[in-house]
Every structure is written in C-alpha cells, then in structure tokens.
C-alpha cells in the first residue's frame, strides 16, 4: 500500500465513502503518511466542494404549495374502482396533468412570485459591530484594529 501512490479513482471513492471498510482504513493510513497523496486528496476535496457550491447556487426549489398538494394526493385513499372517462385514463391524464402542473408552476414563478428581497451581507454587520464596539470599556485594542480591517488587514 505504501509503496505506490493512490489512483485518482481511489481518492474519489475514499472521499465519497465508497471503499470497502478495510480498503478505506488502508487508504486513510496511506494518506496520513504520504504528502503527495494527501495533497491530491485536498485538491479533489476542494474541487468537490466547488462543484457542490455551484450546484447549490443553481438549485431551484419547488413551491411548497405544489409539494403539499402532491403529498396530499399521494396520501388520499384510493377511490372506488371504476372505469374512468377517457380523458381521465392514465395514459392521457398523466401527461396532461404534468404539463398543466408545469405550466402553473412556471406561471406562478413569472407572475406571482415576489421579486427577491434585498439582503445585507452578514460580514458587513460583523465589521460594523467591530468598529463600534471599540467604545465599550475594555473592548479596545483588538489585535487587528478595525481601522485596518478594510485595507491590508490579514483577515
């Protein structure tokens, strides 16, 4: 194990917890001893995190009203068995319902969803607190004074 470096696939599988337990332990031991592989693991982890962040940014949420109506429909007790009208048969009704649902959802997004509310970055609040809290007794003399905070300060 220690005489060869890990393959990229092994590192990816290790990060995703997909290795068998004995193999997982061996890889962990190797990573603890091999700087090259540890750096490769860090790079892979950073890449995964970046991809995840991008995915989260692009994620869209189905409106809660739509989700609850779907859940309600799923939990509703089955109706008495009878032959439905032609327009209510699954082969026809399912695509129609999906299309209608999609149209309603898109319509809601276009016409009824409020514009995004303005928001303040939390970091701005932290900076504002740091600057003003210097007036509190014994609260002054921070290692990196706020007067540097927006310039060269190593934050």
């Amino acid at each position: 194990m220690n005489d060869r470096h890990l393959t990229p696939d092994e590192i990816v599988d290790y990060l995703h917890g997909e290795l068998p337990i004995t193999r997982d332990a061996a890889v962990a031991m190797h990573l603890a001893q091999c700087r090259t592989c540890a750096e490769a693991r860090e790079a892979e982890a950073a890449l995964t995190e970046m991809v995840r962040a991008v995915a989260q940014k692009q994620e869209r949420t189905v409106p809660s009203a739509m989700m609850s109506s779907i859940r309600a429909a799923a939990e509703r007790p089955p109706q008495r068995a009878s032959r439905p009208f032609w327009f209510a048969r699954p082969l026809v009704a399912l695509p129609v319902a999906l299309a209608a649902g999609l149209a309603i959802w898109l319509g809601m997004r276009s016409f009824t969803v409020n514009p995004p509310k303005p928001s303040i970055a939390a970091g701005y609040l932290v900076d504002r607190h740091a600057i003003t809290s210097a007036i509190a007794p014994f609260a002054d003399d921070a290692p990196i004074p706020p007067v540097f905070a927006s310039d060269n300060a190593p934050r």
Binding site: I120, G123, V126, R128, H129, T132, P143, P145, V147, F148
Partner: protein, 339 residues
C-alpha cells in the same frame, strides 16, 4: 483607544468613585478598576505590546511598539503581522490616523463619539452592576509589582476578565479575556514598558501623505433620537438580559434596507443588535449558518471567528445579534427582546 481620551472623564470618574466609597464596605476592587481605566490620562509610557485573539476557526495576533503621551496622544507602530509591518496608528484625542507609509496615505477615523465620553460614569456603573471584582496583591509582571484583578460575571458567576495592573501607575500591563468555559479568548500584554516622557513631535501626521476621511455617521448615545429617525417603526431599545444596556445607536440604509444598530455593553463585553425594516435575513452563506429556534421562530446562527451571529424575524422585522458570546447567551438576549 477609549482609554486615551479620558481626561474629560476624570471628574466623572471621581464622582463614580466617591459613590463607590460611600458604600458600606470599601470597594477597593472597583476603585482599582476605575483607576486602571483612567491611568493613561495621567501616565506617559513606551513599550512593546503583544495582542492575540483566539477562536475555534482561527486566531489573530499582532505586535506593536506603543508610545503614549498623557493625556491623549498615542502612537502604535506595527511589526507583525507581516501585512501591517511598518504601518502605524496615531491617536490624537478622539481621532485615529491610520498611516500607510507604503502607499503614502493616511486614513482618518473618529475613535469615539463626543457624547460617549460623558458616559464614562455609566460604564463604571455598568461594571459595578454586572460584575464583582476580586483583587490579589503581591504579584509581578514584566519585572514590576502588580495588583491582579478578576471581574466575575454576577449572572453566571464566571470570571470573564483578568487584569494585571502596575502597582505604582495603575496602567494595565496584561489583560486577559476569558470565555464562559474558562478558556483564554484574548490577551494583550506589555513588554519592556518604560514610564517616560515622549516628545509631542512623535505624534505628528505626515503632511505630504494623502488624507482620506471616513464617512460621517449618525452614531449617538441619544438612542431614542436615532431610533425615531431610523426611517421605520423601530422597536424602542431596552435593557437586555444579563445586564446589557444600550450605549450608542446609528441608523442608515444599506442595499435599500433601512436599519437601526444599537450597541449594548455589560461593562466588559459588547454586543450589537441590528434591526432591519426588511423581513429578509442577512446573507450568512459564507459563514455556514445552522438553523435554530428563537422564541419559537425559525432563525439562523453562524460564527465568524470569535464572533457569533444570531438572526431571526418576527414577520415584519429582521433582528440580528452580533457579539463574542455563546449561542445560549445570544438566545437569552434575543428572548429578552420579546415584548
């Protein structure tokens, strides 16, 4: 920086101290605390200061040479961290000048609002109300005899501040802030301290540098007035749990959202309450917030270094508490805001 502008507060301090001495038992610890706060107004000194602040995620530290000429001139020349090497801050009364020799520029920032100097007796009263002080004699620090004083929070019975005070001059030579679990949160201590006169010319601002002034703010200790002028129906500031009292407020509009910022202190620690006219929470994404319940309402909690942020909404307003205190304490403070 507060401690260098205390000349005007000396009389108020004497008033506070005379109230202390009128108590049935001599309040030597509190007298000593107040002496320590006012010492730079009468004592000139030079020395090297090392400051460090720790948190779970990261720590920050700095080393600087300090020169102080009583009552209110101070110069700090940074040698560490490397990013600040050579930069200095000169304090002249109520103004800080951040001097950047690499870029030949000076930033001018007020370090205190004029009204808040008058609040010095109130600060002493806050410390008296919220802390009990324990004094130990017979110690030394940096080769000088010191008195050690520990401020213990009356609400939690935990020591939160420890000072080593020079016996002769009452200057604070070492200051440790402690976490509620007793661990060291920050420390600032002197090395090579010398009590000597420093020429006034050391505190001059380079005239040839470009001067940039910080924008004006409406910070004031008249909190009611700032709240009334906030531009929305802001909640009237009130005392919070654990003895936190409002000190100052400022208001404004950021990203189109009007807000009111009130700074609270219990005499040792400070927290900020931001009340926003918008129902939307601040963007905490970079701090990896976690969901929490605040008085039955959903909120978010995040940490930036040693600073905690707790944000929640009551349906029409958004509130954010910011300070170097724990989540349970932030929640307690949030609960005390509930009418």
């Amino acid at each position: 920086m507060r401690h260098v502008s205390l000349a005007a507060a000396a009389a108020l301090l004497c008033c506070a101290l005379s109230q202390a001495s009128a108590a049935p038992e001599p309040d030597t610890a509190m007298t000593l605390l107040c002496d320590a706060l006012s010492a730079p107004a009468t004592v000139s000194y030079t020395g090297v200061v090392e400051a460090i602040r720790m948190s779970r995620e990261y720590s920050e530290a700095s080393v600087y040479r300090v020169e102080h000429r009583a009552p209110d001139l101070t110069r700090r020349i940074y040698t560490a961290p490397p990013a600040l090497d050579g930069e200095s801050i000169v304090t002249r009364g109520g103004t800080d000048y951040a001097i950047d020799p690499k870029r030949h520029r000076v930033g001018e920032v007020p370090n205190d609002s004029p009204e808040s100097r008058e609040g010095f007796a109130r600060d002493a009263a806050l410390i008296r109300a919220n802390y009990r002080a324990e004094v130990r004699d017979g110690e030394s620090f940096d080769g000088r005899p010191t008195l050690s004083i520990t401020a213990v929070d009356r609400f939690t019975d935990r020591p939160l501040l420890r000072l080593r005070i020079d016996r002769d001059t009452k200057l604070v030579l070492d200051r440790q802030e402690l976490d509620v679990n007793g661990s060291l949160r920050s420390e600032l201590h002197f090395d090579l301290v010398r009590f000597t006169n420093v020429p006034a010319s050391d505190f001059e601002i380079p005239a040839e540098y470009t001067l940039t002034k910080a924008p004006e703010t409406n910070r004031s200790s008249d909190i009611g007035r700032v709240a009334r002028q906030a531009g929305f129906d802001a909640r009237a500031p009130r005392e919070l749990a654990e003895g936190f009292a409002p000190l100052e407020a400022d208001g404004g509009a950021i990203s189109g959202v009007r807000d009111l910022h009130v700074l609270y202190s219990d005499g040792v620690r400070a927290i900020s309450l931001f009340e926003s006219a918008s129902n939307s929470a601040p963007e905490m994404g970079p701090f990896h917030p976690k969901p929490v319940l605040v008085d039955g309402r959903s909120g978010e909690y995040a940490v930036d270094g040693a600073t905690g942020l707790l944000s929640w909404s009551d349906g029409t307003r958004c509130y954010t508490l910011v300070g170097e205190i724990t989540l349970p304490e932030l929640k307690l403070l949030a609960l005390s805001l509930t009418p």
